[in-house]
């Protein structure tokens, strides 16, 4: 760990799937991480807000219980702004990644993850996202938390609608010491 800000790994999102794992990116080396989502899109024609992501625990299991809470302030460039938040705990973390088929638009975001590997604390998120689809363009600023104190080693890009498969895009992860 020579640097204070260090590249960890890159992933190219597979097409034809609604879940894509970025595993073994969090470790004891860093408390904070920056994730850059670049040009995430679907392989079908759908204006969608991708659910977001789920976490991967220390044994490789997907954390899919209703332990995620979030609040996102959004701006639709055709219609104005508002709030999008979890009224009750959800089984995914939404951060406002809007996308479509590539010819109609894609989503980009920078997400900071705080203390995922610490088994004594919850995992916290802060995010900014921007995305475009055939409906409109959206910017989103959000905060979120995974409310279970456990070691988290990775995350999963997640879409609940089986018909809305991903088409591509890249995900890069950096650690911040």
């Amino acid at each position: 760990m020579a640097d204070s800000f260090n590249y960890i790994n890159s992933f190219t999102v597979s097409s034809g799937t609604t879940t894509f794992n970025c595993d073994n990116v969090f470790s004891a080396d860093y408390d904070k991480y920056m994730i850059s989502f670049n040009g995430i899109y679907h392989d079908i024609d759908v204006s969608n807000g991708i659910e977001g992501f789920r976490l991967i625990n220390s044994t490789g299991g997907i954390e899919s219980s209703t332990l995620y809470s979030y609040c996102v302030r959004y701006m639709d460039y055709n219609a104005g702004g508002g709030d999008n938040y979890s009224v009750t705990d959800r089984n995914f973390l939404f951060f406002g990644l809007y996308a479509d088929q590539l010819s109609d638009g894609s989503g980009n975001a920078t997400v900071y993850v705080h203390r995922p590997y610490d088994s004594a604390t919850y995992t916290w998120f802060s995010s900014q996202a921007i995305g475009f689809n055939s409906s409109s363009g959206y910017t989103n600023t959000g905060l979120g938390v995974f409310k279970s104190a456990k070691t988290i080693r990775g995350f999963q890009l997640y879409e609940s609608n089986a018909a809305r498969t991903f088409g591509g895009g890249t995900i890069d992860v950096w650690g911040i010491s």
Binding site: S4, K32, S36, N38, R73, N108, I176
Partner: protein, 192 residues
């Protein structure tokens, strides 16, 4: 510049970033425009623009115009931009700002009444995506803070929803002849 000197307020930390490569820093004053014409967009997927400080001497506007180019700065695009952001102003709170058709990005990088607020400067950080990806649109998200008649913060971003390789960008006075000043640094995120 040692990149560790760049303070990233969003994180509350200081990043000494061997993997965040400085492309270029522009320090300027008494000019009408400043350009970045070597974006190294063929290397980096994500860029970060740090506004260390900016200000202007024009009292009737409070932004710089931010334009993109696909021909290295020979000419700049003046259509097809869009923006959506939340302005948070002291005494007012949240104000929605959005437009799906603009002639430029508005760079909230100025201070209107600099003569009255001699210490005031605008600051901010901008994440820019897909400059060099010819099949994707170029977007950015931003956190910026400035002083107009009251202190304001801006959260949101901008869209240029036309595919193509963006290889230069410019910040200027809208072509109406006021002076701008400041210090801007452009970085590329290394992902290899």
């Amino acid at each position: 510049m040692p990149i560790g000197q760049a303070k990233f307020g969003l994180l509350g930390g200081v990043l000494d970033l061997d993997k965040l490569k400085l492309i270029e820093t522009k320090t300027f004053s008494g000019v009408n425009s400043v350009e970045f014409t070597d974006l190294k967009e063929n290397i980096y997927k994500t860029h970060i623009l740090v506004n260390h400080y900016t200000y202007q001497d024009y009292l009737n506007d409070y932004s710089f115009r931010w334009l993109l180019s696909t021909n290295g700065g020979t000419s700049y695009i003046t259509s097809g931009y869009a923006m959506g952001y939340q302005q948070i102003t002291q005494g007012t709170g949240f104000v929605n700002n959005y437009a799906n058709s603009r002639t430029h990005f508005e760079f909230k990088g100025a201070v209107k009444t600099i003569s009255n607020e001699s210490g005031a400067r605008a600051v901010g950080i901008y994440y820019i995506y897909n400059l060099g990806n010819a099949s994707q649109y170029t977007h950015h998200v931003a956190n910026s803070y400035n002083m107009w008649t009251t202190e304001s913060s801006y959260l949101g971003g901008g869209f240029y929803n036309t595919t193509g390789t963006i290889n230069a960008m410019k910040f200027d006075d809208f072509g109406i002849g006021y002076n701008i000043a400041g210090k801007l640094s452009l970085y590329g995120l290394v992902n290899t």
